[in-house]
Structures are given as C-alpha cells and as structure tokens.
Amino acid sequence: MNYLRATILVTILVLFSSARSVQAQSSIGLQPGSLTDRAITWPTSEQWRRVLRLEDHNSRVVVLGTMLLGGAAGFVGSFTLLRRRALMGDALSHATLPGIALAFILATAWGFDGKSLPILLLGATVSGLAGVGAILLIRNLTRLKEDAALGIVLSVFFAAGVSLLGVVQQMKTGHAAGLEAFIYGKTASMGAADAKIIGVAALFCVVFSLLLFKELKLLCFDEGFAASRGFPVVMLDMALMSLVVIVSIVGLQAVGLVLVIALLVIPAAAARFWTESMWRMAVIAALLGAVSGMLGAAMSAIFSKLPSGAMIVLACAMFFLMSLFFGSSRGVIIRFWRRSRLDRTVDRQHLLRALYELLESSHDTKHIAADTARSVSTSELMAVRSWSQRRLKHEIARSRSAGLVKTEGDQRVYLTQTGFAEAVRLTHQHRLWELYLITHADIAPSQVDREADAIEHVLQAETVQELERLLEHQPDAGLPSSPHGPTEPVLRNSGKSITRRAE
C-alpha cells in the first residue's frame, strides 16, 4: 500500500536474506553483546581476493550489470541535468507504476501469466511514455513550469498506480508480492539475464545519444535557437525523455527506484564540476556512474551486511562531494582560489592608484614623474579607502616583494620605478572610464568613481585603446586629470566642486 514501507521491507527481505539468519540468532535474546553485532565484521583476505578478482560468478554479473547501468545513466543524465530537468528520472520512474499494475491486471484477465517480464516491461514503457507525453503537454500548453509538470506527473501517476495495486491485491490470482520485487529492485539477486538486458539497453542509450549528440546538446543549451534553425525540438525532447524512460525501467527492476534516480542525477551533477565541455562532461559522468556502480556492488559483496543499492548511491554521493570541493573547473576550492586571486589583484591596483593619487594631490602634475622618491604614510593611505589596517599591510608586503613599492620603516611607502609606471597605467584606465561614463553614459561626476572602481580591474588593453579613441585622448599626452578635481577645465564651468571620495 505504501511504497516507502514496501521499499524498506522488500529491500530488507530481498537484498539481505543473508543478514536475516544473523538477525534470527541475535533476536533469541537481547544479550548485552548484541549491540556489537551491528559492527561489520572485517572480511578475510580470501573474501577480498574473491571479490576483487571477480571470481564469483554472481558478483561478476552484479558488478558488470551495475557498471553498465551506471555508465548509461550517467551519460543520459548529463543531458537531463543541463536541460534543467534533473528530476525527470524521478518523475518518470514513478510514472511507470500504473502501467505495471495495469499490465498485470489485463494480462491476468486475458489468461496470460501476469508476471512475465516482457508484459510488465511493456506496461512500464507505455505508461512511462504516457508520463513523458503528459509532461510535454503540461509544459507546452499551460503556463506551468517544468518542475510543476514533473511533480504533477509523479504524484498523480504514482497514486493511480497505488490505486491499481489496491485492486491487484484483491485478485484471486493476485500474488502481487512478485510485482513489488519487480518495482523495487533486487540488485543482489541480479542474474545473467538481467545483466544482459541492462547491457543491451545501456548500449542502445549510449549509441542513440551519440548519434543525436549535436542535436541534444543544442536542445540543452538553447532550445529557442534549435527551434529557429529548424530542429524538431519537441521530437528531440521526446527522444531524450524516452532515453530516460528506458534507463529508469531497466534500472528500476534491476536496482530499485531510488538508486536509478540517484544514478541519473548524481554522476552528471558531479561531472559538471570538472569541465565546461558537454562532451567531456558526458564521458566523465558515465565513468563516475560506472565506477560508483562497481565500487558499491563490490563493497556490498565484501561486507555482506551492506545493501548494494544504497552503497552504490553512497559511492556516487562520495564522488559528488569530492567533485564539489576539488572539481577542476567549478569546484568550490578552485573558485575560492580564483576569487582570492582576483581580490589580491584588486587590492594591489587600489594600493598603486592610491599612492599615485596621493602624490598627485600634493604636487604639480607635471613634476610627479621626477619625484617618485617621495613617500606616503600608511595613515594617509588608510584615509583614502575603506580597507582594514591588516589588509593594507598585507598588500604593501606583497607589492614590496613584487618590486612595485618600497618601504621606509613601518609607516612610509613609496613607489619604485616599475610601480610608478604601473600606477600611471591604472590611474589612466580609471580616469578614462570615468570620463567615458560622464560624457557617454550621462552619469553625474559624483557618481562615477565607484562605477569606474568596479570596472577598472577588468579592462583589456583593446578596450583602453577604444576608450582613448572614443574620447579623443592622445596616449602620449599624459594622464587625463581626475574629473573630480576642481582644477579640471572641462568641469570648471559646471560650477560643481566635488570633494574626492565623499564617503
């Protein structure tokens, strides 16, 4: 009746029949030692060897089957992830239930064996595809969004399936127990025939998505563009979802509902952290899926008390966590590092410009170049910008080791020759952008400093040239003077005397 209860019961009963004998022994009496029975016994080296070299026929089949499934699910999952429909597998695997129940009822009513695999698979496929159709109809004909379409199909189809199962249980021939095993998977007892079905389906999915790789990629990234170039978007969408249906159905009866969802989502999400290329992502996702399948199955073969389905998901989750942090393209650590590098660059540029502007404010512009040796005190630097003492000190130390500034004692800083050249360049960029904002974007001079501050660090050399051309500024004519300065000829007649950095 209730599928979670059934999932748990069936998983316990079917997957861990070996564990039950242990349970029978320990439940004779709740002796104090029974708490330690929960601990997993370390397997002997003999067991390790047998599993790792795949000597058991059974574990060989299970490992191979889960690997193939993991690979195919990872590959297909990358497309659904990029299509922002990661949970489609969730919806569609639930949507197969009414088909399975109905196939059982009809087949029994017409005198066939209700539990024959082809009939149940056919039922599952038909209702999975009906689910696909419903999702597409809801999405294209109403104003509801993707997630709502998935949610509606998931809950209504599944509820219909539960209602039908309620009827199945009353049938005279109804031994629905077998049905539940079909629905909730039986990884550990996977047979050679199951592995073969999985292999064929996995191969089909991978080959099919390879053939349509370009089209599916376009569909994932820019549906509108694909439609405008004459690609049959709805058909492609249908094809992608049908692949998901195939993977879910095969996976469903081999490894269970939740595991197949996990295999469709997690490897693809993990692969996304490693690359920006669709092709590499699909390959990495397939590899991660396959390796997790293998690891999980092997773990549960070695430690007989660990459920293989759950172990596969946990292996996936482990890979996901690793990728989340260490991913070479979008991982948290690499992003943090990029960010702090940018922060340091920004700090250095602020320091250099602040030094230059302080020099400029106390000298006639023309004589600055000759007077590079004049030093500036750190308290003056502290005053021009809202940075902390510590941050400023760190930046001064870094710039000194880069040969851009020198220090006199603890309190005074002056620019070196290289530092001065760099500072001139930066101030030049900053002021060009300020001028641009004032003349071409009609922003008040009092407002431009902050905006220029945000953009100056990322200006490319070509952009600077373009700005110079636009503002008809000769590069050899020296620095443009600050638009905030009261001596600025352009602004003098505007009557506004703007104090620098009003904050």
Partner: protein
C-alpha cells in the same frame, strides 16, 4: 445501481474524509508557495529523505515510540531543504539537481542505517511512522467525551499552524516568492521566510506520512495549487481556489475509492491514491476548461482571431476587385482559391458576413454592400498607409512591405490611421502606385 454497495458510515467514512481534507488543506496552503518558488518536487524529496532521521531516532532512543521518530524525521526533512539550498548556493548546481543529489544520498544512508538497526531489533518504520488513511478511525483518543482519531487531531494542529503562518506572513511570503531581492531590500530577509516555509513543509509532510501515508501529501503539495494557478491570476484567489480543490478531491477521492472498483467487480481500493487521482482529474479539467488560461479557451480565441482576419481579408479582396474594374463577381470557389483557405472557414466567414450585412449574394456570387464597402475601404486605407509609412519612415523597400502591412492592417483603428496619415504627410498614392482611398 451505481452507488449500490456504498453506504456512508459517519464513524468510518466521515473520519477518513475529514482526515483526508485536513491533510489536503495543510499541504495545499504551503504548496501554493512551493509551486510559485518552483520547488514543487520538495515534498517528494522530503518523503524519501526522512529515512535516516527515523533510523537515527531509533538507534538513539532505542524505542519505537512516535515522538522521537517524528522529531528525527522533521530534523532530517529540514536538513534536506538546507543541504539542497547549500549545494545550490556554494556549488552553483541547479535546484532540481541538488535536490536529487541530497534526497537520494540521504535515503541510501537511511537504508544502511536501517539494516544496521534491523539486525539488532526488528525495526519496521512502516509500523511506526507510515500510516494508512483507511486505518485512521481505528486509532482514537477520547477528547471531551468524543473519541476522535489521533491523526485527525495531529493534522488539525498542523493545518491551524499552516493557516496562521500563511495569513500572518502573507505579504512577506508573497514578496519573497516573486522577488526575493526586493523582499530583502525592503528589510525582510527572504532567506528567513524561506527556511520557515521549509520547516513547515517538513513538519506537514512528516505529520501526514504518520497518519495518512505519503502519496496523498506529496500530491496535495503540488496538484491543487497547480490547478488553481491555471484558474486564478491573483495569489489570494489562487490560495482560496486551491483549498477548495483540495477539499473536493479528498471527498471525491474517498467516494471513488469505494465506488469505482465495484464497477469492475472488486471491493474498494487505496483511498489516499484515489484522492490524489481525483486531484489529478480536477487539474486536467482546469487545464482544459480554465476560463482564461484553459487550453480550450486559448484555442477558441485563436480560432476567433483567425476568422475575424479572414472576414476582413474577404471584404478587402472584394473591394480591390471592384477597384480594378474587374467585371467578374466571385463565387465561393473563386474566393477560396484566391485566399488559399479551407472550405469550412470560408463558409463560416461568408455566412457571418452576409448575416452582418457586409456582403450580399446573388446566385452564389458575392458583392459588397454599402456598409461592407465602408468597412473594406478603411482596411485598404490602413494597408496602404502602412506601406507608405514603412517605406518613407521605417526604411523598408517596396518589395518587402506588403506582408508587414497585411498583418498590421487588421489591428489599425481610425485614430492610428489618422496618425499614420499625418506622419506620412497625407499621401494620395502608396509605394506600389495604388490610390489610397480617403477616410469616410
């Protein structure tokens, strides 16, 4: 006899339906905001993810009593929402994907824990936490002399809390659902209300699993709000309608769970399942028949528009034929061939035009009446003024403008024509050399 086997028993059916209604209302109230925030799948995710909470509660408390299990499940339910948000935020992963990663991993973790616990004492969370709505009337508590089902009491409390939450924080929920940034700038932290909502979703979900099973609550989080979304344009109306739909599907669902299987010779089936199916049917009905966004209305509107355009095409064609001093008076077949339209559409349109008095037919051939001619003249005038405008002011070339003008003429009223006329300095001849008829 359709309801032959159905005898309503208040002590039984009454309580089942009441519990169903309470569950439906409490879930739907929050579901409206989940749908608006595009988090419809959260209910499903939580329903899978609470498993480790149950197992941990059992391992810690070493008992199978309800309260620790409830607390454990709620905590993990909230953690699901937190982890989802966290992975989405720091990993820049799509919402759905991060939800998928979190709930499947938690479920797997729960399975491993359950296996460890099951070795020790037989733990079946089903007995402890996952109830079935049919059994609710059997587990009663005496309150003020009445024996009321325990789940009805739990769910009334949850419904009350949710109703209070939604009515007190209505404005905040509304703003933060539509524009989180605006909500934060106006001084109310969008994240705070988000997590309050998530907490209540977890509480509602777990309380409902315990009493009525999870199928019903997962469906009620999504389906009635979606149906209401298609019927209403204001969030207050949407919430009201969705609650109505929730109640209706609970009642209908129970009745059909008892009645429908008897048509095929079986007894009753799962009530919770049929309640969700009933909600699904109501959704389909509102998607098709909705007054403003329904598929039917949209199709009808499109058809009406295409027929209106065709009537205008017919009379302007007749006008142009007469203008060219063409002696032939076209019959229906001619018109159909010239306008490249279907048989039915042409019949409908000609019938309508005759009825309105714009054209008259003499032995199967059609001619404009005076009234029709006035109407046609303004259409042709619009067309040619647009062509003139497109060439002289919008930089179009003569051979490209016809199609554009053909579209625009149907949406041009007298005021706009006068404006076009003024802008193009009252031309007499359009770019193709045709005379522009004057306004009458």
């Amino acid at each position: 006899m359709m309801f032959g086997s159905f005898a309503w028993d208040w002590a039984l059916d009454g309580w089942i339906v009441t519990t169903g209604i309470l569950c439906a209302i409490s879930a739907t109230l929050l579901g409206n905001f989940l749908v608006l925030r595009r988090m419809s799948m959260l209910g499903d995710a939580i329903s899978h993810a609470v498993l480790p909470g149950l197992a941990a509660a059992f391992l810690i408390s070493n008992s199978r009593s309800s309260l620790p299990m409830f607390i454990g499940a709620v905590i993990v339910g909230i953690l699901t929402a937190l982890f989802t948000e966290w992975i989405r935020g720091i990993g820049k992963v799509d919402e759905g994907a991060s939800m998928g990663v979190v709930f499947t991993s938690l479920f797997a973790l729960g399975l491993v824990m359950v296996v460890q616990a099951a070795d020790h004492v037989d733990l079946d969370p089903g007995c402890v936490l996952y109830g079935a709505i049919e059994l609710t009337p059997l587990d009663t508590i005496p309150v003020a002399g009445l024996s009321i089902p325990r789940s009805a009491i739990t769910l009334s409390i949850v419904t009350l809390i949710n109703a209070l939450f939604v009515s007190i924080f209505y404005k905040e929920l509304k703003i933060s659902s539509f524009d989180p940034a605006l909500s934060t700038t106006t001084g109310f932290h969008a994240g705070l209300i988000h997590y309050a909502l998530m907490t209540l979703v977890a509480v509602t979900a777990v309380a409902s699993f315990e009493s009525v099973g999870n199928i019903l609550v997962v469906a009620m989080f999504i389906v009635p709000p979606c149906a209401a979304y298609l019927l209403a344009d204001r969030i207050g109306t949407m919430i009201t309608i969705s609650v109505g739909i929730a109640v209706a599907s609970a009642v209908l669902g129970h009745i059909s769970a008892v009645v429908v299987p008897t048509w095929f010779g079986y007894h009753s089936t799962s009530t919770a399942g049929m309640m969700a199916v009933a909600a699904g049917l109501i959704f389909v009905l509102s998607a098709i028949l909705g007054p403003r966004h329904g598929i039917f209305v949209k199709l009808a509107r499109r058809h009406a528009l295409s027929w209106r355009i065709l009537t205008e095409d017919v009379i302007s064609l007749l006008y142009r034929l007469r203008e060219r001093n063409d002696a032939t008076i076209p019959n229906r077949a001619n018109l159909q061939a010239m306008l490249l339209t279907g048989n039915v559409a042409t019949r409908v349109v000609l019938g309508w035009l005759t009825h309105r008095g714009d054209i008259r037919s003499t032995v199967g051939c059609y001619q404009l009446t005076d009234q029709g001619e006035t109407r046609a003249r303004s259409l042709v005038r619009s067309h040619r003024l647009w062509e003139q405008y497109l060439v002289s002011l919008a930089g179009g070339t003569v051979d490209r403008i016809h199609d554009k003008a053909e579209q625009l003429e149907h949406f041009t009223d007298r005021q706009l024509r006068e404006r076009l006329d003024a802008e193009t300095e009252t031309p007499q001849i359009d770019p193709h050399g045709s005379h522009i008829p004057p306004e009458k």
